[in-house]
């Protein structure tokens, strides 16, 4: 709501598009953008500039090219300074840009917040405004639902003890200040240090859980690749559990990517069926095969389908080389038919090999189990892991505030200043589990300490 705050978001739909845009709006939009990219010319109102996207290593490395457009306040969509960084649509690059922006002081925008700002500054009309209201309306519901689900959820169970301990420390220090005339003992520097330090490990573990937990939220993509007519589309349909992709006996039927979102044990998975890899016969197929390679590069998990009735060919060997070191598995399909001799050279022993028959459904149960194992990869199985960037950000900021107060405590900084950072840590944890009010702090004080001169 406050125009001084800088907000940031990826403003193109998730997944790979041709171009992805990260938007920044607010007072610090320009300085933050200036650190995210290396501009070839200074920003000017309503002008596009070429720039290099930088990563966060020192010295920063150029990882992508981007077009950066700046709109100066008040002549922008939001009426604040607005910067749009259009990079190639790789989710990895966009994610990095957004995370770095948050690290540089931007706040993750709420859904619809750019439009809301635009509306409040009078940039859009009433009909559009009503659409915005509906959006916020939906957000209210979603927030309520999310809050309700968080309340009893694993994340909440994990955060609550930390939050409670933090609240107790706050109550101890607040009581000391507000009831100085009562015979409460003053918390010592050592006691405060002990308590703050006790809060750090669980929060650090929580922050680390993000990488795994994120899969739960964003889901992952699984690309099915292989030579033409190996049965990729049949397997795809089996996994989707309906006839989604067109299956014929003719090799090269699938010309473009076919995607479908499925849920395996609650984990959202985007399945991508691809064109078979071979020397293309014509232009359309050639484009299809290029897209296969693209999908293979972007996928979180690669499923290589081999035809169990035929020996490995050169295209398949190339595919097997391409998945080295990646999360992948191999399926030998058509196992209902007489098989060819064992593949030569032998399949990489590091990868799981599942024998299936897309025709009969044989081996599908095992296949699902192997995919799930790859998808959860340990970390995500952890209960109460962080699943959204917003939550990860909150935990990170809470940790930073706690560390700052720990340092200040060692310097014997007065308690009301330590409390500034302790309260801001609490506010961040509130993002995960719901609001704490002044009344909550007072309640804890009155139930813990015998107050009353």
């Amino acid at each position: 709501m406050s125009p001084v705050e800088t907000i940031a978001a990826i403003s193109t739909p998730p997944g790979r598009g041709g171009i992805g845009i990260v938007r920044l709006s607010g007072r610090d939009a320009c300085p933050i953008a200036g650190k995210l990219v290396e501009l070839r010319a200074p920003l000017a109102h309503a002008h596009a500039r070429l720039a290099w996207v930088l990563d966060d290593s020192t010295p920063p490395r150029r990882i992508d090219e981007a077009v950066v457009t700046f709109f100066s306040a008040p002549n922008s969509y939001t009426s604040d300074d607005l910067v749009e960084i259009a990079a190639h649509g790789s989710p990895v690059v966009l994610d990095l840009l957004l995370r770095r922006a948050l690290g540089l002081g931007a706040r993750l925008a709420q859904p619809g917040e750019f439009t809301e700002r635009a509306f409040l500054s009078g940039r859009i009309d009433l009909t559009q405004a009503e659409a915005v209201r509906d959006l916020i309306d939906a957000k209210t519901l979603a927030q309520a639902r999310q809050a309700a689900s968080q309340l009893g959820g694993a994340l909440s169970l994990r955060v609550q003890p930390v939050k409670r301990a933090l609240l107790e420390l706050i109550a101890l220090l607040e009581a000391g200040i507000d009831f100085a005339e009562d015979d409460l003992s003053v918390a010592t520097t050592e006691e405060i240090a002990r308590r703050i330090n006790g809060l750090l490990p669980p929060l650090e573990a929580l922050e680390k859980s993000f990488a795994g937990g994120r899969i739960l939220h964003d889901g992952l993509t699984l690309a099915i690749v292989g030579r033409p007519n190996a049965g990729k589309s049949s397997l795809f349909n089996r996994l989707v559990e309906r006839e989604r992709a067109i299956v014929t006996a003719t090799p090269g039927t699938t010309r473009d990517l076919v995607t479908e979102r499925i849920s395996m044990d609650g984990i959202p998975i985007e399945l991508v069926d691809t064109a078979g890899v071979r020397e293309a016969l014509e232009e359309v197929e050639k484009i299809g095969i290029e897209r296969t390679h693209q999908a293979l590069a972007d996928a979180s998990i690669v499923l290589v389908v081999l035809d169990a009735t035929a020996p490995l060919n050169g295209d398949e060997l190339k595919l097997l080389r391409a998945i080295e070191g990646r999360a992948a598995l191999i399926v030998r399909n058509k196992c209902d038919l007489p098989r060819a001799a064992s593949p030569q050279p032998p399949l990489p022993s590091s990868l799981a090999v599942v024998e299936t028959s897309a025709l009969t459904g044989g081996g599908l149960t095992e296949l699902r189990a192997v995919i799930l194992k790859l998808a959860t990869g340990g970390a995500a199985a952890e209960p109460g892991a962080l699943t959204t960037l917003r939550h990860r950000d909150a935990v990170r900021l809470a940790l930073a505030a706690l560390k700052k107060s720990a340092e200040a405590n060692v310097q014997h900084t007065p308690h009301e200043m330590l409390l500034l950072d302790l309260h801001s840590a609490l506010e961040q944890l509130d993002e995960l589990t719901g609001q704490t009010s002044t009344e909550d702090v007072l309640n804890l004080i009155f139930s813990t300490f015998c107050i009353g001169k």
Binding site: P3, K139, T140, I177, H412, V441, C450, I451
Partner: protein
Amino acid sequence: MSFTEQYDIAVVGAGHAGCEAAVAAARMGLRTALITMNLDLIAQMSCNPAIGGVAKGHLVREIDALGGIMGQVADSVGIQFRLLNTSRGPAVWSPRAQCDKALYRVKMRELLEAQAGLHIRQAEVSGLVIGELTNAAPNQAARRITGLKLRDGRILNARAIIITTGTFLNGLIHCGEERYPAGRSGEPASVLLGEALRALGLRTCRLKTGTPPRLDGRTINWDAFEEQPGDADPTPFSFRTKSIPQRQVSCHIAYTTPRTLEIIRANVHRSAMYSGQIEGVGPRYCPSIEDKIVKFPDKTQHQFFLEPEGLNTHEVYVNGMSTSLPMEVQHEIVRSIPGLEHAEMLRPGYAIEYDSVDATELDHSLRVKSIEGLYLAGQINGTSGYEEAACQGLVAGINAALWLKGSQPFTLGRDEGYTGILIDDLISKGTNEPYRMFTSRAEYRLHLRIDNADRRLTPYGRKLGLVDDAAWAEFEEREIFRMAFGSLLNATKPTADDLRAAGLGDLTSINGLGWAQLLKRPQVSLEPLLPFLLSGLKMQPALHKLAAAVEAGALTSALRNQVRTVETEIKFAGYLEQQRKSIEKMKAAESVEIPTWLDYGIISGLSREMKEKLERVRPATIGQAGRIPGVTPAAVSLIHVSIRIQAAKRAS
């Protein structure tokens, strides 16, 4: 033919709220009446004979900085001054003073009587004169108050009325099994006014508070208790106070014994609080002694204080022993304490229940939203404490005067003072227990210090006409001092000799730093360094006073206050800046006003509960809406957008 009197403003009740309200209104040029049931009990300290305390001391400083009177009166009758919380940072240092209770009344009455345009009247109010307003806009007041009916038959006409009834509104005293209607011990309750207010249809609630027994000091063996002297160098409340006139005395610290606890445990069922006789809600921060023992059974002893009620009386207030146990049990409790074996009780402790009005009926100017011209201040709004009452009285008095003059209301932001926080909390959230100020209620505590209360508020007081020329000149002088001293510290550097002499010589890393940078070191404080700044101080006329004091080795507490302001702002600049950013954020939300015509009923997406709360409070700004309990950030966005939508629809 009835006898009538004509005033601009009438203030009902001459307690701590009423006195501030009446003086402010009169000083602002309005013909003002102050009506009290007993002329001899103006500004009575019904409970403990002390002003200030943590956060409350801040309130008194603010009242003083705005041009109110509590600080000056307390300074003139204070008999033990202590600056609290000095083991913490300057933001939470807070002054407190034990006062001579009888003298406090005398001084206050002197001040009231000396105020031009202020007319004190003894009378009981028996009714309110209310008229209907035709063509009132939706959500605006539909009625207007025009005067008071007095018990003696008089009608008192006034264009604005401020009601400050304290605990008198349908007051009911409980002492053990006994109970009787009273406003305070020995004084009648305001029953007729209570009925008149009830007839207005305002939401009310029943609150409770308590007070401890008073003892005869001649029957106390003082040697049995630890003495608690005041500060050698008293910190006054008022920026205008130059010296503390009264002889200073000590308080004494005492503890309960196992026998005390036994007596209480055996008799808890006879306490009015525990027998179910009391329905009002009491303050958790000021529990009765029986409450402390029931709620904290593991605590083996409880501290209390023996506080003198004045220099010319032997009456002693037993702070920390508030109770509603029967008289004979109180007697036994007192006698169970070594040193009080022979103590005589002058008055027993008691609990009192009284009516208060739900403060969400009010707006930021403390005006009743549904009735034009009617203002409420003090305990009637659900607060407890003299200081909480006084700051409301001041704000109500100022606003009644401004309204009559046709000016915009005076409101203070949460970033400007505890007074602003108190009022915003009350009118946005209401309260279900007597509300007391705590520093933890302040989001921007570091900026709300006693040392800068003048800078925060005196310019407002001056503009309102409450700060006289002399006080304003002193304020300007302090401002010049602050700037001159700040730039001296920023512009000059200590020599190596200075550092050695100041005992900082071993901090080799500080060589070459300026004084200001040096001050940022946690181990460095400014006062011991002043002798090394002497030459610089002498070069600036604005700093000559300080130079002279440093040379004489005697810093007055006023000068010390000024030095601390400068030191605090340099030393904790980082933290102050951090808070300033939050303030900026809050102000953005505060700048979006919610029009009175906004219809919450048609905003889809707001829950029914939220709509009801918003309808009741009718927040003035988006910021205030967000502080209403249960109103979520998304709901606030929704309201924000709906303002625009409904505005566009009204226009078309």
